[in-house]
Symmetry: C2
Subunit: 331 residues, 2 copies
Amino acid sequence: MQAFSIGVDLGGTNLRAAAVTPEGERLEAVSQPTRLHAGPQTVLDDIAGAVRKLMERSGGADALVGIGVGSPGPLELPAGILHHPPNLPGFDGLHLRAELERRLGRCVSVDSDANLAAFGEHYLGAGRALGTDSLCMLTLGTGVGCGIVLEGRIWHGMQGAAGESGHGPLDPNGPLCPCGARGCLEMYASATAIVRRAGQLGLGSDSTEGNGSSGPLSASSIAELATAGDARALQVFDEMGRALGLSLANLINALDLPLYVIGGGAAAAWPLFAPRMFATVREMSYVYRLSMPDDPVVFQPGRTHIAPAQLSDAGLLGAALLPVHAHDTVA
Amino acid sequence: MQAFSIGVDLGGTNLRAAAVTPEGERLEAVSQPTRLHAGPQTVLDDIAGAVRKLMERSGGADALVGIGVGSPGPLELPAGILHHPPNLPGFDGLHLRAELERRLGRCVSVDSDANLAAFGEHYLGAGRALGTDSLCMLTLGTGVGCGIVLEGRIWHGMQGAAGESGHGPLDPNGPLCPCGARGCLEMYASATAIVRRAGQLGLGSDSTEGNGSSGPLSASSIAELATAGDARALQVFDEMGRALGLSLANLINALDLPLYVIGGGAAAAWPLFAPRMFATVREMSYVYRLSMPDDPVVFQPGRTHIAPAQLSDAGLLGAALLPVHAHDTVA
């Protein structure tokens, strides 16, 4: 009987779940829209239904190691209570963990999606490939998530809010972020920020793009324009690389980890932002210069490595691994 | 027989050592100038001599738990090798730990002065008083040191360079720091920065101070001017508080620790910089606002606390405690 665990990625748009072996092999997977409009109780029922379906298809309850659920934050941990999650309207105060445990009659581990992405990359992605014991991962999506794994454990901090470096202020005179601060990383490096900045520079408001697309701008269409040589689109990614470099400089100086991973949809633009990101880290981080690799894209043991994510769904795999490595993650 | 350990604080100006009980009671202490001009071998001999003297006076080798030495960095750990330490000219490449072990015929633990100050505050100062398990301490002196204690252990990072948040860039357009970055915390919050900024604002170049002092400006004389109401001196500490607030916002968002301690000589100006520091943390840190105390100067369990150091020589006491808690500090 093949042991497996079940991971759930509760997103604002899609609800995905997978049965995964402890080694990271995916046995079964389901995906459906997150029915936010129907309210939290329906979404909880949908999660429980997806878990039961995967359990039946993958060998039954006896082979199930555990269930892990990743959710947008802010999430009070380890209780698993949501507090005003901007991407899950109507879910404020929901006892996500307790509600799922009641429905399933089993223990459920809950953590933030950004922490679980870092956890997944540590155990199955870049961290495993490189043999590092700690990493910090920035996930560039609608916002910028961040997760920190120290010696194999997710670093949660006092209230489960550690790794909110997407809201670390980079420029106190920068644009106002919804979090209340100015010039946060999220204001420069999220998919949302890319589209906003492109609009500010006039992209999309005239017909100079020349790519034949008449739809609204997206991070990926702006990346296409940059790849084709559009100066304003290139500037957007240059500024993004500068912001990532500043944020990484702060993280590297504070934590001195062997590995920093950049993931999420907007990380696909790596070739466009990475040169400026590396130049900024070199300029701004004394600790990076102490242990700079000869070539920034080639891993050298004992040197600081910054790399794109290796998994396309680190968060889902990280959720499945959470109960497997539970003894490592209890702070 | 009272068990004791010996701590050494190797500074660029003074060499201090103390015999301390595991509970932090100081049994004996010695202090002498650091004879930098005579070269590293003489300084090593002086350290070994001070340790032997304390050993004899405090109960002999049988009662000695261990020896801990704090040094300015950068320090390669755990080997204890100095790399171009700016405050110890001529000491580059010195195997501080191995040289002392050879002279003393005993194991010696070595760490950076900023890490040991954090360690001292954790076990004997603010951390002990408040019962917290983790803290980050900024030491404001000639430069700005930083040490991070996570669950009782110093967080060293990959190469012993963690906690270099004194060189975290706060404003990418700020003044150039000797570390190569721009707008580092150290450029705003060190004693050196206070004097430089006061000079830029014209303090000391005219006779408006009215405190009768004709000597060169120092951080403490500028603090006196500010306390007396001098607008430019007040501005210096306001800017310092803003920089500390920005740096703390980044640290709080990344680590979510229960306690942040501000120590070092320049921390004596706490009443002058703290109001702006707290206002900036509130403005810039979403995680701080999640767990903000009702009154920022009153500790509440489960809330983020920012406080001045409680020990006048946290670094020396931390050095003495290092071998006592050695099992906790090996990463």
